[in-house]
């Protein structure tokens, strides 16, 4: 077995006495999609924010490529090639697609000024690959549709060679066609050897896209299963009852 891309070991974090994440361990291998499931407030997003650097775990360790990692803020996470696509789409609405794609990592001219023309050209290139119908390069992203905004967010992760991708309900705000587009994109990223944590509510998407699924309830890990070996109902049982299916246990 290869070394896991990511290991979250025994992570705990509490807010004002409430254990949001309670001694949870999950891992992720290259070319794999691991679904994170659970009710609202089960602790999925909180757990994953420890990896993306938005939160700092009270206890527990993060290992990346078999080495212990220190992630204290989003900048550290980026240094480990961890990219996050947030549920709320972390885009600055008042800026255009190129400015958002390169936010925090602008291309600059030799004189140190931001090179808008070059950034727009690069954005046109990558959007041509990901979403060839995308035309709105000159307008603020507030003028884009949900799917177009999602493709900007995904383009950002892809452009900067993410090795580890965290997607927080990437299809929640999308129509069927756009959901299909994102699904194909996830398949493509898998083939390229990325590891993807997918936070997802739609059980159908989980069965279709994920290799393994880790289910959380009340801040604790119910269990991790191979999606091929279980049924929709097994996973629903884990989410609702917090009970691991007999045959895999």
């Amino acid at each position: 077995m290869t070394t896991p891309l990511v290991e979250l070991r025994d992570i705990s974090i509490s807010f004002g006495g409430i254990k949001a994440v309670d001694h949870v361990s999950v891992d992720l291998y290259p070319g794999e999609v691991v679904g994170l499931l659970g009710h609202n407030g089960a602790g999925k997003s909180t757990l994953i924010k420890c990896l993306s650097g938005a939160y700092h775990a009270d206890s527990g360790e993060i290992w990346i490529n078999g080495q212990k990692a220190e992630i204290n803020n989003p900048r550290d996470a980026r240094a480990y090639n961890i990219e996050t696509i947030y549920q709320t789409l972390a885009l600055a609405d008042n800026l255009d697609a190129a400015s958002n794609l390169f936010l925090g990592r602008e291309l600059v001219t030799p004189a140190g000024f931001v090179d808008d023309a070059k950034m727009e050209a690069e954005t046109r290139k990558i959007m041509g690959r990901l979403n060839p119908n995308f035309r709105k390069f000159k307008v603020p992203v507030s003028a884009l549709s949900g799917g177009q905004r999602q493709s900007v967010a995904i383009a950002r992760a892809v452009y900067f060679n993410a090795k580890i991708l965290i997607m927080d309900e990437p299809t929640a705000a999308l129509g069927p066609h756009e959901t299909q587009m994102v699904a194909e994109l996830i398949e493509e990223l898998k083939r390229q050897g990325l590891g993807i944590f997918l936070i997802e509510h739609d059980i159908h998407n989980v069965m279709r896209l994920c290799d393994r699924a880790s289910v959380m309830k009340n801040g604790q890990l119910v269990g991790t299963v191979n999606v091929d070996e279980v049924t929709d109902d097994d996973i629903l049982g884990m989410i609702i009852m917090g009970k691991k299916p007999e045959k895999v246990a």
């Binding site: 989003p74 980026r78 996050t84 972390a90 609405d93 400015s99 600059v108 023309a117 050209a121």
Partner: protein, 431 residues
């Protein structure tokens, strides 16, 4: 500009303004400003658009306009700075004290060429330090900027009062007074040189922008459109310089100058003022701030943090440190405005800059800076400051009573923001 016509996109023939790629909002402000000045010109019987009045109008605008450029950054980051008027007063007090008391006391005589530079550096540093302190309170201690700077509004003017014991400090150093306006102008030859250099610089910038687009195969404006814009820019710059160079120094003032130098004035001798150094300073600040806003990472992050603070933070931008930097910059600009304002009145008084925080915020807001954050331009803020000053001095010339002047300015502020909201809704920028 109806929505269906927009949707058809490329099929529709581009309008004249679309082809020029001119910001219609800015065009509206410029038209409003021109209409205002022409209106006052007629009402005053041809007194408003004279070289003398335009000269005065520009030097009266400088102090608030300089601070308004910084206020754009502050407001774009969803903050506010109510302390700039008081901070201006404190910086002015520091510089005044240095010039008339402290520096002479440590052996630098009055009139020494060292006095002005030392005082100015100290004034700018005072502003930047206090601004940084405000920014630290806002960014790191997460106290709302409204409260921090409301406190500052009370604190800094009274620190200045305490330091100076409320005394008027003056007269300020002669070289320092050069930054005040009428006491420091470039004269005709240098002003013309400035006009030529500014024109060439603008043409070069336009050409570079076009080249960058061609290099990346982006669509460019037709050549006639570029030519028209270039022509307008050059005409405006040279026309402005020509106007200022048409303002003659009154013979009595010239005679005093010759008398002071111990010479007699030759018969028929004339001279003109030309571009005031303070206005030159404002233009330099405007260019620098525009470059910072549009061409640097720092500027990009200010707008990103204003548009979506969480997105900026998650993109690895240190938004707390950004606040420190933006408030420090605002403070330094308040220090610079203090140089201009105190030099203009040739002494420091404890009421200098009173209510300037409101004028500054109003200028930025009339200029299109959105209090919700994320939107604003430097040129808009300067235009906003000019419109307010034109209103004030125009009404004063017409003879409108003081209370009515303020009533009108207040009404215009609210009206301008309302028009802006309607405009943004129509164009779909605001939903």
């Amino acid at each position: 500009m109806s929505a269906p016509a927009e949707a058809q996109g490329g099929a529709r023939k581009k309008s004249f303004l679309d082809t020029l790629e001119i910001d219609t909002r800015m065009l509206g402000m410029v038209v409003a400003f021109i209409a205002l000045t022409i209106g006052f010109h007629f009402v005053t019987g041809g007194l408003f658009l004279t070289p003398r009045n335009i000269f005065n109008l520009t030097i009266q605008t400088v102090s608030v306009a300089i601070m308004a450029t910084g206020m754009v950054f502050v407001i774009v980051m969803r903050d506010i700075d109510l302390s700039v008027g008081s901070l201006l007063c404190l910086c002015s007090a520091v510089m005044g004290l240095l010039q008339v008391q402290l520096l002479p006391d440590i052996g630098i005589p009055l009139g020494s060429p060292l006095i002005a530079p030392i005082a100015i550096v100290a004034g700018l540093a005072t502003g930047a330090l206090i601004g940084a302190f405000n920014g630290w309170l806002v960014g790191y201690l997460t106290i709302p900027s409204f409260i921090v700077t409301l406190g500052g509004l009370l604190v800094w003017r009274n620190v200045a009062w305490y330091m100076t014991s409320g005394q008027t400090l003056g007269p300020l150093d002669d070289r320092f007074q050069l930054f005040g306006g009428i006491n420091g102008t470039l004269g005709a030859p240098l002003s013309w040189a400035f006009g030529v250099i500014a024109s060439l610089g603008s043409l070069y910038a336009l050409m570079q922008a076009r080249r960058a687009k061609i290099r990346h195969d982006f669509p460019v404006k037709p050549v006639w459109a570029e030519g028209l814009i270039a022509a307008v820019v050059v005409i405006v710059i040279m026309g402005f310089v020509w106007t200022l160079n048409s303002y003659s120094v009154p013979p009595a003032v010239l005679k005093r100058r010759f008398d002071a130098a111990g010479l007699t004035m030759p018969d028929g001798y004339t001279d003109v003022y030309g571009l005031p150094i303070s206005v030159f300073l404002l233009i330099a600040v405007a260019i620098a701030m525009t470059v910072v806003a549009n061409k640097t990472r720092f500027g990009r992050y200010i707008f990103a943090a204003g548009g979506n603070p969480d997105a900026a933070e998650l993109s690895g931008i240190n938004t707390r440190l950004m606040k420190v930097k933006v408030f420090a910059l605002m403070g330094m600009l308040a220090g610079l405005s203090a140089v201009v304002a105190s030099a203009r009145q040739t002494y420091h008084t404890n009421d200098i800059g009173t209510l300037d925080e409101l004028r500054t915020i109003a200028a930025a807001v009339i200029g299109g800076t959105a209090l919700a954050g994320g939107v604003g331009t430097i040129y808009g803020a300067i235009l906003g400051a000019l419109i307010m000053q034109a209103l004030n001095s125009g009404m004063a010339m017409v003879g409108v009573d003081s209370p009515f002047q303020n009533i009108v300015v207040g009404g215009v502020l609210v009206l301008a923001v309302f028009v802006d909201i309607v405009y943004r809704k129509r164009t779909g920028a605001l939903k």
